[in-house]
C-alpha cells in the first residue's frame, strides 16, 4: 500500500464542528438561529419512531387542549414540546466541539479484512459526548469494465449496480467521550477489488439524548487507499525450467548468510552474539551486525498487459493477483530480483519496501493499448528480452534476459507463467 495515502497531518485531517481548522470561528448566535431556519447543507434531522409517536401524542393532546380549553392539557402539550426542543438543544451540545478523522490502517488487500480507524476527539471543556455513530463506505475509484452498468439499464438498475460496488458500514460510539478526551473506533471490512479505493466517512449521526430525533451530519471525509491484488493459489510446475547457475545478479538483502552486509544500532531483543564490539567501542553505543542473505538465482517478473491479450477483465484481475502472489512467494524465498511492468524499467526488489512498491504498482496496473505490443505471442511467453518492449528491436544487456517470468492467458479463465517459453506455473 502506498504510505502516502495514509499520511495524516495532525490538524488538517480533522473534520467536524470542533475541528481545529474551525476552532477559531467561535460561537455565532446569528449563525445558529439561521441554521435553525435554513438547515446547513447535508445536515439532516428526522424523527425516529418514538419521535413520530411523541409528535402524534403532542398533536392529539394539542387537539384535546384546544377543544376543551383545558390548561392541564396545555401544560402537558407545552412540556412535550419543550422536551422536543430540549432534545434538539442537547443534540447540538453533544455534537458541538467534536471532531473526527479517518485513519485507514494498512495494508489493504482484496478479499482480506482491512481496518479503518475513526479517531474522535471531544474538544469541549465541560461536557462529554455520547452516542455518536459513523457511517462509512468504501468503493473503488475505477470500475472494471464488466462491472459498469450498461447504457440501456434503467436508473434503478444502474444505481443497484453501483451500489453493489460500495461496501457500507456503521460503527457506534458506545462509551462517552469525556471533555478533552478522545476515542478510536475501528471498522473492519473486506475490499472487493484491487486498485485505488475511496474510503469515505459519509455521515456522523446521533440519537442523543432521548432518541426522538435522528440527527445526521453529512461529512464526506475521504481518504484514498490502494488495495493490493488478492492472493490466489497457483501451481508451480516448472522450477527446473529456470536457468540455474547462470550469471544472474545476486540479491543484496539482509538475511542469514555469512557475508556482512551492514551495521545498525542495537535494538531491544537483539541477540548479543550479533553485537559488533569493535564498532560499538568506537561509536560509544552498541551496534549490531547484519548479514546478507544467501545468494540465489533470482527471477524477474515481467508483466505486460496488452488489451488484445487480456481482453477479459476477470482474467486480467487473475493475472494481477497471480503476479502479486508469486512475487511475494519469491520474495519470501529470497528469489525475486525485480519486476518490469509493461516494458518499463526494471524495478529491483531488495527489501520489504520494494516489495510494497511492487504491490502498489500491481494494484494500479491496467490493460494498455496493444500498439506497442505487436509481437504479443512472443512477449507473453517471455521470449522478448527484458528491458525491451515488445516490438522493440534493440536488445538490452546480455544477462538481464535470464529467468524472466512472463504471463499469458491459459484458456478462457486461467493464467500461466513462463520462463523462456516454458510454463512454470499456472493459476
Amino acid at each position: 500500500m502506498n504510505p502516502a495515502a495514509l499520511s495524516t497531518s495532525p490538524n488538517l485531517d480533522w473534520d467536524g464542528p470542533g475541528a481545529p481548522a474551525l476552532a477559531g470561528r467561535g460561537f455565532e448566535a446569528k449563525a445558529l438561529v439561521w441554521a435553525m431556519v435554513f438547515p446547513v447543507k447535508r445536515h439532516r434531522i428526522s424523527p425516529t419512531v418514538p419521535g413520530v409517536f411523541l409528535m402524534f401524542l403532542s398533536m392529539a393532546i394539542g387537539s384535546a387542549a384546544y377543544n376543551t380549553a383545558n390548561n392541564i392539557l396545555f401544560i402537558t402539550l407545552s412540556l412535550l414540546l419543550a422536551c422536543l426542543l430540549l432534545s434538539g438543544l442537547l443534540s447540538w451540545f453533544n455534537l458541538n466541539g467534536v471532531c473526527w478523522r479517518l485513519v485507514p490502517q494498512g495494508p489493504w488487500r482484496a478479499g482480506h479484512e482491512a481496518m479503518v480507524t475513526v479517531e474522535v476527539q471531544n474538544r469541549k471543556r465541560w461536557l462529554p459526548t455520547y452516542s455518536l455513530w459513523f457511517e462509512l463506505s468504501t468503493q473503488p475509484t475505477r470500475v472494471a469494465a464488466d462491472a459498469k452498468p450498461a447504457e440501456e439499464m434503467k436508473i434503478r438498475d444502474v444505481l443497484a449496480a453501483i451500489e453493489r460496488l460500495v461496501t457500507r458500514g456503521k460503527i457506534q460510539l458506545s462509551e462517552r467521550v469525556e471533555p478533552g478526551g478522545a476515542a478510536r473506533l475501528d471498522w473492519l471490512m473486506q475490499p472487493r477489488q484491487r486498485g485505488e479505493n475511496l474510503v469515505v466517512l459519509d455521515a456522523v449521526g446521533s440519537l442523543f439524548p432521548f432518541g426522538f430525533l435522528k440527527k445526521s451530519i453529512g461529512v464526506a471525509l475521504k481518504q484514498t487507499v490502494l488495495v493490493w491484488p488478492a492472493q490466489v493459489s497457483y501451481q508451480w510446475t516448472g522450477a527446473a525450467a529456470a536457468n540455474s547457475g547462470s550469471q544472474g545478479q545476486r540479491t543484496a538483502r539482509i538475511g542469514r548468510g555469512d557475508d556482512l552486509l551492514a551495521l545498525r544500532n542495537y535494538a531491544s531483543g537483539d541477540s548479543h552474539r550479533l553485537i559488533h564490539w569493535k564498532a560499538s567501542a568506537r561509536l560509544g553505543h552498541l551496534m549490531i551486525r547484519q548479514f546478507a542473505a544467501e545468494s540465489h538465482d533470482g527471477y524477474v517478473l515481467r508483466l505486460d498487459s496488452p488489451e488484445a491479450v487480456w481482453a477479459r477483465a476477470e482474467q486480467f484481475e487473475l493475472l494481477c493477483s497471480f503476479a502479486a502472489t508469486m512475487a511475494e512467494d519469491l520474495f519470501a524465498g529470497g528469489r525475486l530480483r525485480g519486476i518490469s511492468v509493461n516494458g518499463g524499467a526494471l524495478l529491483e526488489i531488495r527489501r520489504l519496501r520494494d516489495l510494497e512498491a511492487l504491490l502498489d504498482e500491481l494494484a494500479k496496473v491496467q490493460v494498455v493499448g496493444d500498439v506497442a505490443f505487436a509481437r504479443t505471442g512472443e512477449a507473453s511467453r517471455g521470449e522478448v528480452p527484458l528491458g525491451r518492449s515488445p516490438g522493440q528491436d534493440t536488445p538490452p544487456t546480455k544477462n538481464r534476459n535470464k529467468n524472466v517470468i512472463t504471463f499469458a492467458p491459459e484458456g478462457a479463465r486461467g493464467v500461466a507463467a513462463y520462463v523462456d517459453g516454458k510454463q512454470i506455473a499456472s493459476a
Binding site: 418514538p50 409517536f53 401524542l57 393532546i61 384546544y66 377543544n67 376543551t68 380549553a69 383545558n70 390548561n71 392541564i72 392539557l73 396545555f74 401544560i75 402537558t76 402539550l77 407545552s78 412540556l79 414540546l81 419543550a82 422536551c83 426542543l85 430540549l86 438543544l89 442537547l90 465541560w126 461536557l127 462529554p128 455520547y130 452516542s131 455513530w133 460503527i171 457506534q172 460510539l173 458506545s174 462509551e175 462517552r176 467521550v177 469525556e178 478533552g180 478526551g181 478522545a182 476515542a183 478510536r184 473506533l185 475501528d186 440519537l207 442523543f208 439524548p209 432521548f210 432518541g211 426522538f212
Partner: protein, 771 residues
C-alpha cells in the same frame, strides 16, 4: 473501541439497573397521581406501589416467577378489566384501574425498548387523566417529577441502545444486571457522579420547565371550548353537606373540618364592608329529618339546565356605589357541592369552561315560567365537579335581601286561586309555608308563635326580630347537640320547646318553622359565612369550618330577607364591620396559608389562564417593554448630561488626583473581586474533590495556559526578539524545556517533579522576555 482518555462510566449492566430504577420511579409517580382522583382504586394503588417498590429493591424477583405467570398476566388483566367494566357504573375509573394494572405489569417485568416506551405512555395517561380531572397543585409537582424521571429514563435507554448496537453485547435482554448488589450499585453511582454533569442536568431541567412555561404562555389560544368530555365518564359524591338534602348535623360536621373549601380573589377588596354570606342552596321543603330541596324545585332546575359558560345575573341595573369587590374569582374545591356559592346578586357569572349549568335565574328560555323561582337565586352544575370549579362574578352587590315580587303573586295564586298559576309546571309556593305536621307539632308551634308575637299580627321583619330574640333567649350555641327525648313531635319542635343548646342548622330550621307557623314564607339556606384573608397573596380562604346555615323570610310583598338567628353570627341583615372582618384576617399568616397561596398562584396563573388573560399579558409585556425602554433611555440621557457637566467643570490637580485615585481604587476592587472569585472557585473545587486539588499543579496549568500563545511559535522568534539565529534557537530550547517541566508538574507523578519554584520563575522570565 479503545478509549484514549478512559473515564469512569457505568457499564451495560449498571445502565440497565439504572433504567430499571428510573422506570420504577416513573411508574410510582404516575400511580400516585391517582390519589388525587378519589376513585375506588386507592387500595389497588397501594398494593401496586408496594409491589413496584419491592421489585425496585430486589430486581431479581420477577425472574423467579414461572414463565406461565407472565404468559397469563395480560389475559388476566384483560379479564379483570372486562369484569370491572361490567360491574362499575362509571367508565373512566375502569380505564384508570386498567392502566394501573398495566403499569404494574410493565414495571415488574423485564422490558425491552418498546416496552419501556409503553411504560412511559401508560404513566403519561395516568398523569394527564388525573391532572385534567383534579387540577390540583400536587399534580403539577408530580408532573414535573414524572417529566424528570421520564427524561432520565429515555436518556438511559438511548445510552443502552448505543452500547448494544455497538456490538459489545447481544441485544437480548439479559438478567445479569439483576444480580448486582444494590449497595454496590449505589456506591458505583456515587463514584461516577460528576458534579458538572449533575449541575448541567439540573440546569437543563430548569430550562425545560422554563421553556414549557414560556410555551404555555405563548401558545395561541382560541375559544373553541366545547366542554370537557372526561367528566361525563365519572361521577363524584359530595363530601360535604351542601347537597339537595341537609340533615340536622351535617353542617356541624363540616365545621370541624379546617380544610379550605373555596378561595376568592377580589380585584378590589376595599369596598367590602361586611362578612359575606356565601349562599349556595335554598332548602324549601321541610321534612322531619331536616330541610331539603323540593322535588319541584329540582325539576325547575333541571328544566333550566343548558350547556353554557356564562350565566346572566341581575337584569335591572343597580347603583354603581353598591357594587363591591370588582371582579370576584371563586375557586371552589372539588367535593364541596355542585351548587355554586354566591355572595349576593351579580351582573354575570362566567365559568372557566363550558359546562351543563342549572340556574333559577332567567336565561331567556321560557322566562315566564322560570321567573317564579328567580328569587331562589341558585346556580348549580349538573353533577359534582371532579376538579376545582372556577368562576367569575362581576357587578356583585352584597345586599341582605333578594327581590322577588313574583313570589307574592305566585303564593296568592296557589293559596287563593286565580292568576293562572295553578299549573303543575309552576312552582307551588305553598311549600314555603309547610312545617311539622300533626296536631301536637302544630299546637306546640302555635303556642310558641303566640309567645313571640303576643297575639299581634307582625310584619315579617318584626317577627323575625322577636323570633330571633326568643330563640336566642332559650338556646345557647354549641357544636354538640343532644336532641331532647320525646315522641309525637318532630325533633325541631322538641328542640324549640327545650332549652338545649344548638348550632346554626337548629337555629335556622327552628326560626323557619316558627316563621312558617306564623304564616310567613321562609326557607333555610346553606352555604358559608365569612372567610379569612391570606396575607401572602391577598385572597380570601373560605374553609369548611365556615359552613353555615341561616334562614330567609319573605316580607309578604317584594323581597326575601336574610335572617341569621345563630347567636354570635350577626343579626338579621346587620352588616359586620370592616374591623371585625379585619380581625379575622389577622389570624391568617401561618405556614399552611403560605402553602395555600401556592395553590392560588397555580389557579390564577395556570388553571385559569385563557385567551383573555393571554391578551392582557401581552399588553402588559408590551407596556412594560415600552416603559422600560423609555425609562432606560431617560436614565442614559440623564447620565450623559451628568457626565458632560462633570467633564466641563474646571480641572485642577486635586480633582484630577481624586479622579485618578477613584479609577485606581475601582480597578483595585475589580481585581480583588476577580481574585476572590477565583480563590473561592479553587477552594470549592478543592472541597469537592480534595484528591484532585493541588495548588502546585493548578499553578503549573495556569503557567502553561499563559505560555500557550508562545508555543504556537516554535521557532522562538518572538522570544528572542531578534534575528540572531543562535538566540532564536536558544529561546526555542528554553521555551521547550520550561514547557516540558511545567507539563511534568501539571500532569506527571509527584516523584518526578523538578523544583516547582524554579520552573515557575523560569516560565515568568520567558514570558517577560517576550513582553
Amino acid at each position: 473501541m479503545s478509549m484514549v482518555n478512559k473515564s469512569r462510566q457505568l457499564n451495560l449492566d449498571e445502565l440497565r439497573r439504572l433504567k430499571w430504577l428510573l422506570g420504577g420511579a416513573m411508574a410510582l409517580v404516575s400511580l400516585w397521581t391517582v390519589f388525587f382522583l378519589d376513585i375506588e382504586a386507592l387500595s389497588l394503588v397501594g398494593v401496586t406501589s408496594a409491589i413496584i417498590l419491592a421489585v425496585l429493591i430486589w430486581p431479581e424477583l420477577p425472574g423467579k416467577l414461572p414463565a406461565l405467570i407472565w404468559k397469563l398476566a395480560v389475559p388476566a388483566i384483560i379479564l379483570a378489566a372486562a369484569v370491572d367494566f361490567y360491574v362499575s357504573p362509571d367508565t373512566l375509573p375502569v380505564f384508570i384501574r386498567l392502566a394501573i394494572l398495566l403499569v404494574l405489569f410493565r414495571s415488574v417485568s423485564y422490558r425491552r425498548k418498546r416496552e419501556d416506551l409503553q411504560l412511559i405512555v401508560l404513566g403519561l395517561f395516568l398523569i394527564v387523566v388525573a391532572g385534567v380531572l383534579t387540577v390540583s397543585l400536587g399534580f403539577a409537582f408530580l408532573l414535573l417529577l414524572f417529566t424528570a424521571c421520564a427524561l432520565g429514563f429515555l436518556f438511559v435507554i438511548n445510552l443502552i441502545d448505543a452500547v448494544e448496537t455497538g456490538g459489545a453485547r447481544p441485544s437480548e435482554v439479559g438478567t445479569a444486571w439483576t444480580r448486582l448488589s444494590g449497595k454496590a450499585f449505589f456506591a458505583r453511582l456515587k463514584s461516577v457522579a460528576d458534579w458538572r454533569l449533575l449541575t448541567f442536568a439540573a440546569v437543563l431541567f430548569v430550562t425545560v420547565v422554563a421553556m414549557s412555561g414560556l410555551l404555555f404562555l405563548v401558545i395561541p389560544r382560541f375559544e373553541l371550548a366545547s366542554g370537557f368530555f372526561l367528566d361525563r365518564y365519572i361521577t363524584r359524591k359530595s363530601r360535604t353537606g351542601f347537597t339537595e338534602v341537609v340533615k340536622f348535623g351535617s353542617v356541624s360536621e363540616l365545621i370541624k373540618d379546617d380544610s379550605v373549601a373555596m378561595r376568592v380573589d377580589l380585584t378590589d377588596a376595599s369596598g367590602l364592608r361586611e362578612v359575606p354570606y356565601w349562599r349556595m342552596v335554598a332548602l324549601d321543603e321541610y321534612t322531619p329529618e331536616g330541610f331539603r330541596v323540593s322535588a319541584q324545585l329540582k325539576g325547575q332546575l333541571l328544566g333550566a339546565q343548558r350547556v353554557t359558560q356564562t350565566v346572566r345575573g341581575r337584569v335591572t341595573p343597580i347603583k354603581r356605589g353598591t357594587m363591591v369587590g370588582g371582579q370576584w374569582t371563586i375557586y371552589l374545591e372539588p367535593g364541596v357541592s355542585r351548587f355554586l356559592p354566591l355572595p349576593g346578586s351579580f351582573g354575570s357569572l362566567r365559568l372557566r369552561e363550558q359546562a351543563q349549568v342549572q340556574s333559577t335565574i332567567a336565561q331567556g328560555r321560557e322566562p315566564g315560567r322560570l321567573a317564579w323561582v328567580e328569587g331562589m337565586r341558585m346556580v348549580a352544575l349538573r353533577t359534582e365537579a371532579m376538579a376545582m370549579t372556577a368562576f367569575q362574578l362581576d357587578n356583585v352587590e352584597m345586599a341582605g335581601s333578594i327581590p322577588d315580587p313574583n313570589f307574592a303573586r305566585l303564593l296568592r295564586g296557589w293559596v287563593h286561586g286565580g292568576e293562572d298559576v295553578r299549573d303543575g309546571r309552576n312552582y307551588d309556593a305553598r311549600i314555603m309555608l309547610e312545617g311539622p305536621a300533626g296536631a301536637a307539632n302544630e299546637a306546640a308551634l302555635k303556642a310558641m308563635v303566640a309567645e313571640i308575637t303576643g297575639g299581634a299580627g307582625l310584619s315579617a321583619e318584626e317577627f323575625a326580630r322577636r323570633a330571633i330574640a326568643w330563640v336566642q333567649r332559650r338556646h345557647a350555641y354549641a357544636l354538640s347537640v343532644q336532641s331532647p327525648a320525646g315522641s309525637g313531635k318532630d325533633d325541631i319542635v322538641r328542640w324549640l320547646e327545650s332549652n338545649e343548646p344548638g348550632f346554626c342548622e337548629y337555629f335556622a330550621a327552628g326560626f323557619t318553622v316558627l316563621a312558617r307557623a306564623a304564616g310567613h314564607p321562609a326557607r333555610v339556606i346553606a352555604g358559608f359565612h365569612g372567610g379569612v384573608l391570606n396575607t401572602f397573596e391577598n385572597y380570601y380562604m373560605v374553609k369548611n369550618s365556615h359552613a353555615h346555615a341561616w334562614a330567609e323570610i319573605y316580607d309578604g310583598s317584594t323581597v326575601w330577607l336574610r335572617i341569621d338567628p345563630t347567636p354570635g353570627a350577626g343579626t338579621s341583615g346587620a352588616a359586620a364591620t370592616l374591623e371585625s372582618l379585619t380581625a379575622q384576617q389577622e389570624r391568617d399568616g401561618s405556614w399552611s396559608a403560605r402553602f395555600d397561596s401556592l395553590r392560588v398562584l397555580w389557579y390564577r396563573r395556570i388553571v385559569n389562564f385563557d385567551s383573555r388573560v393571554q391578551v392582557q399579558m401581552l399588553d402588559q409585556v408590551k407596556t412594560f417593554t415600552m416603559d422600560s425602554s423609555t425609562a432606560v433611555r431617560a436614565r442614559f440621557e440623564e447620565w450623559s448630561k451628568q457626565l458632560k457637566a462633570w467633564r466641563s467643570r474646571p480641572w485642577d490637580m486635586a480633582r484630577a488626583g481624586k479622579t485618578a485615585g477613584g479609577g485606581v481604587g475601582a480597578a483595585a476592587v475589580a481585581w480583588l473581586m476577580v481574585r476572590l472569585v477565583r480563590w473561592s472557585w479553587g477552594r470549592w473545587r478543592g472541597w469537592l474533590r480534595p484528591q484532585q486539588f493541588d495548588p502546585v499543579r493548578r499553578e503549573a496549568g495556569r503557567q502553561l495556559t499563559r505560555l500557550r500563545v508562545l508555543r504556537k511559535f516554535p521557532e522562538g522568534g518572538r522570544i528572542a526578539g531578534s534575528i540572531n539565529a543562535a538566540k532564536i534557537d536558544e529561546g526555542a530550547s528554553t521555551l521547550a524545556v520550561v514547557v516540558a517541566d511545567l507539563e511534568r508538574i501539571r500532569y506527571g507523578r509527584r516523584e518526578t517533579w523538578p523544583d516547582a519554584r524554579g520552573v515557575f520563575r523560569r516560565a515568568k522570565q520567558v514570558r517577560r522576555s517576550v513582553d
